[in-house]
């Protein structure tokens, strides 16, 4: 039982589990924070960005000035943004049998794995995960492909050169493995390998392992996974939430009795309470708009945006914002808003009941109907005709490196009336803003991360009581910026086993049992004997048949009657010899009674000494120079070449034991 840890990002995990005879990849998250090192891709030609000065080394060497640009004291790579892939060298990924996806944010590296590693297995995910995951990938590909960049920088990745660069470029890890974005073709091919599953559906893997997705409460279709054999159980918890938002609530009960619980995807902002942040979001939004400013919300096209739109629906009138247009701009905006309304079975109870009324589960339908919320595939086309200010724009990408958001940052960044409100917790907002500095617009950081916080984790672990917890190393110590916050780490007994990128972890399993089925006719032939009240034993002679990781005891073939034929027996016909079996013994020898019997007349031993040893007793027949060692699981009769005596004593010993 091993876990290969291919990602160091705690919320974008990628682990491979060797469990029994299967190789299971748990999620394949894509670390996109690498894109923060790149210059933004503007939709409209930006004189500011294209005129940034090239970066030169301290000694004045300018050979990197084409690749690296300087902006407000920061250095950026002027190239197509690249992503940090999961580790591909640690394990041969072509041996991976299945990939289990827990939510749409944790599948963004899928095309890299399925299309470039020789992977031939199956991917399992729920339907909303696949559909929304597809939207996220489609948006990503679209954002990057619609701004073609001729240049692809690679010089700076040279290890010797990288050392000379300023932070954070200098400290970027594994830059040589960074890859450009996949294509839509690769996306389609990767998604075609996915098999859809439903919550609590049991999926057999090669007879050895059963995997089951459970609702995790974090996003539409998000799941945790149970991976179990007959006697071992691993729970994989990734991106779960106990808050009442739109998805189905988290299924905690099924996580009980786990030998190992792999815990990933906790909140990235443990000190921020989502409710407080939503309050902050709306207060700032209202204040900005009241002042005639615009609000920009960099976001993903699915997820928290649904909840924000719902809150907006309730808040819009009371805050006097009815006349303010809300725009949602994304190549997949329409699909995302529509998909959310059709996945009723994956929604929380309240929303499910709406469907039977029938009403749309999410109120953004009404916002769209009343023209308060408008959505567009991009800033080009209809949007430019409808655009009215002051307004609120929800658009991607939250890294501020590509997507329509780049345009709005350039457009609104110079006015202090405008505000950008960060709600997605995946990117450091200061780093995201770095290439836009100096910036006059107000920046508000309201990260809304509904995933489990440490208090909730602590309650969860108390509730489900796994024998062992495995988690990323980041969760075993307080965040570096708040080293005194001992409450911001996982606290459980025994302490969690931690992992980091490119590490292999031996999971603490003790394999003790294996399930073996017994054929009915064989079972029928058994004659159990009760050796203790409630415990019966029976001997069984059978052939153990193992196929597809299933073990079956079959009746032994009948002994072949010697045919006496002329044909010589062929080797292939050879069958196991069925010898006459010795009876099995059980019970313990009561020493006192045993000695008394020896002393009786028919045996006639006198001068018997009994010594207690650590393991049992030694009965010494001094006259006969014989020792009888009686231990818990063995009895030895040691006598000098007196086979008769030995057999007599043996039979006496046997009298005190049960046989069957």
């Amino acid at each position: 039982f091993f876990q290969y840890c291919l990602s160091g990002h705690p919320t974008l995990p990628c682990n491979v589990l060797k469990f029994k005879s299967t190789t299971i990849m748990l999620d394949c998250g894509l670390d996109m924070t690498s894109t923060l090192n790149f210059l933004p891709l503007p939709l409209v030609q930006s004189p500011r960005l294209s005129n940034l000065p090239g970066w030169s080394l301290k000694d004045g060497n300018v050979f990197l000035d084409k690749e690296l640009k300087e902006c407000s004291g920061h250095v950026f790579v002027d190239s197509v943004p690249e992503f940090c892939l999961p580790e591909t060298e640690l394990i041969d990924l072509s041996t991976v049998d299945v990939i289990l996806i827990s939510n749409y944010h944790c599948m963004m590296a899928l095309p890299y794995i399925t299309e470039h590693t020789g992977f031939t297995g199956t991917v399992y995910a729920t339907e909303p995960t696949v559909q929304i995951g597809r939207l996220l990938m489609e948006e990503l590909v679209n954002f990057i492909e619609r701004v073609p960049k001729a240049q692809s920088a690679s010089l700076w990745k040279n290890k010797d050169i990288q050392r000379l660069l300023p932070s954070p470029l200098k400290d970027a890890v594994e830059v040589s493995t960074w890859r450009r974005c996949y294509t839509m073709q690769e996306v389609n091919s990767a998604l075609s390998k996915i098999q859809l599953v439903g919550y609590s559906q049991k999926i057999e893997l090669f007879g050895a392992v059963q995997v089951t997705p459970l609702s995790s409460g974090y996003a539409l279709g998000s799941s945790n996974w149970i991976i179990q054999s007959h006697y071992e159980k691993v729970s994989y918890v990734s991106g779960s939430s106990l808050l009442t938002t739109h998805p189905q609530p988290m299924d905690q009960a099924s996580l009980k009795n786990s030998d190992v619980l792999v815990l990933t995807g906790l909140t990235q902002i443990p000190t921020a309470n989502p409710d407080g942040m939503v309050g902050e979001f709306f207060s700032n939004l209202a204040l900005t708009v009241r002042n005639g400013g615009n609000v920009l919300v960099p976001c993903y096209p699915s997820g928290v945006i649904y909840d924000l739109l719902e809150c907006l629906y309730q808040y819009i009138d009371s805050a006097g914002l009815s006349s303010i247009p809300f725009y949602f701009i994304s190549p997949v905006a329409n699909s995302s808003l529509e998909f959310s309304q059709i996945f009723a079975e994956w929604l929380c109870h309240n929303k499910q009941t709406k469907v039977y009324l029938p009403e749309p589960p999410f109120p953004h339908a009404e916002l769209i109907q009343t023209n308060k919320l408008k959505h567009y595939p991009s800033i080009h086309g209809d949007f430019s005709n409808d655009f009215r200010q002051p307004c609120v724009v929800f658009t991607g990408h939250p890294s501020l490196r590509f997507g329509d958001v780049v345009h709005f940052m350039e457009l609104w960044g110079k006015s202090s009336l405008n505000t950008v409100i960060f709600t997605e917790p995946d990117f450091s907002y200061l780093e995201a803003l770095a290439p836009y500095q100096p910036l006059a617009m107000k920046c508000i950081y309201c990260p809304i991360d509904t995933r489990l916080n440490f208090i909730q984790v602590s309650k969860l672990l108390k509730e489900v009581q796994p024998l062992h917890v495995v988690c990323p190393e980041q969760y075993t110590q307080p965040p570096p910026a708040q080293a005194h916050r001992m409450d911001l780490m996982i606290d459980c007994q025994p302490p969690p086993m931690s992992y980091r990128r490119a590490e292999v972890l031996a999971l603490p399993f003790k394999r003790r049992y294996e399930k073996i089925e017994i054929m009915p006719e064989l079972a029928d032939s058994l004659v159990p004997m009760e050796i203790k009240p409630g415990i019966s034993l029976a001997t069984v002679s059978a052939v153990l048949h193992t196929k597809d990781n299933k073990h079956v005891l079959q009746p032994p073939p009948r002994p072949v009657q010697p045919t006496g034929g002329k044909k010589r027996k062929r080797v292939t016909d050879d069958i196991p010899d069925c010898k006459v079996l010795k009876p099995l013994l059980s019970g313990s020898i009561p020493v006192e009674q045993f000695v008394q019997t020896l002393e009786k007349e028919q045996h006639g031993f006198s001068d018997i000494k009994v010594e207690d040893t650590a393991k049992g007793h030694i009965v010494l027949l001094q006259e006969a120079e014989t020792l009888i060692q009686i231990e818990e699981d063995s009895t030895h009769i040691i006598c000098d070449n007196d086979e008769m005596l030995r057999v007599r004593l043996r039979d006496l010993v046997l009298k005190f034991l049960q046989k069957f």
């Binding site: 006097g320 916050r485 409450d487």
Partner: protein, 755 residues
């Protein structure tokens, strides 16, 4: 009793004793009892009974009447108790065997009516009133009432059970009332039988394995020590404290909350303060660390310290214990406080092992300190600075900004326990607010404002925490200006207020209505206090707070609308309302405020608070520009709307406004000034006629007459006052007398009586 009442009383009694007369509600019975209580307090009950034989008749008849409402039965029991509180009246009633008929076996006790909790409660309350003199004790003994009271302690109705406990404590006090003052008195074995009986019952209960019985006994003791500080309480405590100590040894400690209450009550008792009972030591020893985490009771482990530093020191020590644990060495941080639990690492360890225990202890300590702070008998010197420091530290722990000493495991654990703990936050903010009554070292006060601003700014502050933070802020601001001797604020406080405005602005835009409401309340109070401050005015006008407040008049939540009315009214009174020239305002041109508020008053019965009427009254007094334009129209509209309002306070305030209007039209703006030298005089006839005409035009008299029959007494009383004032002004009393036989005399008399 006035003749009219005397006339009405027989009819009333007959109606009460008639089971066929249903009672709409029992508030009238309560009012009636209030009235009888006032009568008996003012005069002789015996006289009352002799003057009104119908009362005796009622009390005699009630227990015999079948099918009588339990409420009437309870009323009669309480009335009888009230009357029998005076010994002569008691004797009178006893002669007629009336009391046993009501309170004994012959009465409702044990009958079908006894199943009604109201009747049982009435029985107890009657006896409680009655038990005021030695004769009553004999009566109770003859009746065997003690057994019933004891059994009622376990009554299914909480009210009855609690009243029974209180009655026991009262009887105990009464039976020992004669003991010599200033001397602990004889031992329990020499006490009167009834007292011994009660003590015996308490002892039995304290030893009982049933927790409810222990709770009952503890509650009786808590009431006793809380209300009675006679020397005999020392004897009682000396006898019972070993039993209480035994409770502390049990695991788990039974009835922990009641036990803590008892120990606090003992700690506060001045009788025990004089001479600490020997039991203290036992208690202190018994209260090892084991019970603290489980039940978090403050005084026990520090009890001996009480002799040295008083309760404040004890609690302070505890607070420090929690706050200062390993922050940087407690003594260094909070000098002047006695050692708290951190003195003993084992205690600290056990305390910190349970989150709920630690939080419970801290909340309780903070709440007790908050109660203790304003008391005159609080310990002197009051350790203000250390307590202030401790409160700030606790708050910092709660929001995660306190950094425990490096390598301090205890600090880290405390940090983990307190992080985001709303309960402790609320308690600590409440206490911090209370500490504003005294000042502290300037650097600590700066820290106080800093931590308050942190809480007000933090998006993670829950609405209840935020409300507490606003309240504490206001108290500290007030204390800052009071200490300067004028309403001016010192520069740091002014700076704080300026920093506060953007926060307030955000809070007023919060999606959570409780937050908007607290923000508005705070705004109203701040404006009321510092509107005259140039710096504050300037900062407020430069902010969007006034506009936001005005916008909240349309809030979907009625509480917020009500608070917005008050806030906007206050802003407008002080000339701080939203500027009509706000260029970016979305709502188009600014509307006049008065029609808007009048519209709220007329159309939104939930959204207009009594304070809103005060605003109108203030406007009328101050001659607010919008009111002055057409005062009569304003008054007419306000009175018309107020008369229809569901809130009696609004109607009462309407009468206040009517009075101001009358005074103004009569030309007597100063007539209600308490400092006026001359007595109010009647206005000149010409003015009177003018005022009366104006009153008719605004339908003031109609409003007042309608209010005279208001369901709510304060409104009717206020209306009486107003009409009498008007009569005084229109025709002085003498002239009426001279005129003689005016048909108005009867009305006048009625009004006077109403008053």
């Amino acid at each position: 009793m006035d003749p009219e009442c005397a006339q009405l009383l027989p009819g009333l009694c007959a109606a009460l004793a008639d089971p066929g007369q249903p009672l709409a509600d029992d508030t009238c019975l309560e009012k009636l009892l209030d009235w009888f209580k006032a009568l008996t307090e003012a005069g002789s009950s015996l006289q009352l009974l002799q003057d009104s034989p119908c009362l005796v008749e009622l009390l005699l008849q009630v227990p015999k009447t079948l099918g009588l409402s339990p409420r009437v039965l309870a009323f009669s029991l309480r009335l009888a108790g009230l009357l029998a509180a005076q010994e002569d009246c008691f004797q009178f009633l006893q002669q007629g065997e009336l009391l046993p008929g009501l309170f004994g076996e012959a009465g409702p006790l044990g009958g079908a009516a006894w199943t009604a909790p109201t009747v049982r409660s009435g029985w107890i309350q009657g006896l409680r009133s009655l038990a005021q003199h030695p004769s009553a004790l004999h009566f109770l003994a003859d009746l065997g009432a003690l057994d019933t009271v004891v059994s009622l302690q376990g009554d299914s109705s909480l009210f009855v059970a609690s009243a029974a406990g209180q009655l026991l404590a009262h009887i105990l006090g009464l039976s020992l009332r004669g003991q010599a003052e200033g001397h602990p008195g004889p031992q329990v074995c020499d006490w009167p039988a009834s007292a011994q009986r009660i003590v015996g019952h308490i002892e039995e209960s304290l030893c009982s394995p049933a927790t409810p019985r222990v709770t009952q006994a503890l509650n009786v003791l808590t009431t006793t020590f809380g209300h009675c500080h006679h020397p005999w309480t020392q004897v009682l405590w000396a006898r019972l404290s070993p039993l209480v100590a035994c409770l502390l040894e049990k695991d788990p400690v039974p009835a922990a909350h009641s036990l803590v209450d008892l120990l606090l009550s003992v700690a506060r008792s001045p009788a025990l303060e004089l001479r600490p009972a020997a039991g203290w030591e036992t208690v202190a020893q018994a209260s090892g660390p084991a019970w603290i985490p489980a039940h978090a009771g403050p005084p026990a482990s520090g009890a001996p310290e009480r002799c040295r530093t008083g309760e404040g020191g004890l609690l302070g020590g505890r607070l420090k214990g929690a706050a200062g644990l390993a922050v940087r060495g407690p003594e260094q941080h909070f000098p002047g406080l006695p050692a708290g639990p951190e003195g003993d690492p084992a205690v600290a360890d056990t305390l910190l092992s349970s989150r709920s225990a630690c939080v419970g202890l801290l909340c309780q300590t903070l709440a007790h300190l908050e109660l203790l702070q304003p008391l005159p008998q609080r310990p002197a010197p009051w350790p203000q600075a250390p307590l202030l420091g401790a409160a700030v530290t606790v708050l910092r722990f709660c929001n995660g900004s306190a950094v425990p000493a490096s390598g301090s495991d205890v600090g880290g654990r405390l940090c983990a326990i307190l992080a985001s703990c709303v309960r402790v936050q609320r308690a600590a903010l409440g206490f911090l607010g209370a500490l504003s009554e005294d000042t502290g070292p300037p650097e600590l006060v700066t820290q106080v404002f800093a931590v308050l601003l942190d809480y007000l700014q933090s998006p993670d502050s829950s609405p209840t925490v935020l409300k507490k933070a606003f309240q504490a802020t206001l108290r500290w601001l007030l204390s800052a200006s009071t200490r300067r001797g004028c309403c001016d604020l010192d520069p740091p406080t002014q700076l704080f207020l300026r920093e506060l405005l953007p926060v307030l602005q955000r809070r007023l835009c919060s999606p959570c209505w409780e937050v908007r409401d607290s923000g508005l309340e705070f705004l109203t109070q701040v404006v009321g206090r510092w509107a005259g401050q140039a710096g504050f005015r300037h900062a407020l006008l430069a902010s969007e707070v006034p506009q936001l407040a005005q916008q909240l008049l349309q809030d979907p939540e009625s509480y917020v609308r009500a608070s917005a009315v008050t806030a906007v009214g206050q802003l407008s009174s002080r000339g701080l309302h939203a500027s009509p020239a706000g260029p970016e305002h979305l709502g188009g041109p600014q509307k006049s405020l008065l029609p808007e508020l009048l519209h709220v008053l007329a159309a939104d019965s939930e959204g207009f608070p009594p304070q809103g009427m005060q605003v109108f009254t203030q406007w009328l007094r101050d001659g607010h520009a919008e009111v002055a334009e057409d005062t009569e129209r304003f008054v007419a509209r306000v009175l018309q709307a107020a008369s229809r309002d569901l809130d009696w306070e609004v109607r009462a305030q309407g009468l206040e406004l009517a009075r101001v209007f009358l005074e103004q039209t009569l030309g007597q703006p100063g007539s209600r000034c308490p400092y006026a030298v001359a007595a109010p005089e009647a206005a000149a006839p010409g003015r009177v006629a003018q005022a009366l005409r104006a009153s008719c035009r605004v339908q003031l008299v109609e409003f007042a007459f309608r209010a005279l029959f208001d369901y709510d007494r304060p409104v009717a009383q206020k209306s009486c006052d107003l009409l009498l004032f008007l009569r005084d002004q229109a025709a002085p009393w003498d002239s009426l007398q001279e005129a003689g036989g005016s048909p108005d005399v009867a009305v006048e008399a009625a009004l006077q009586r109403w008053r």
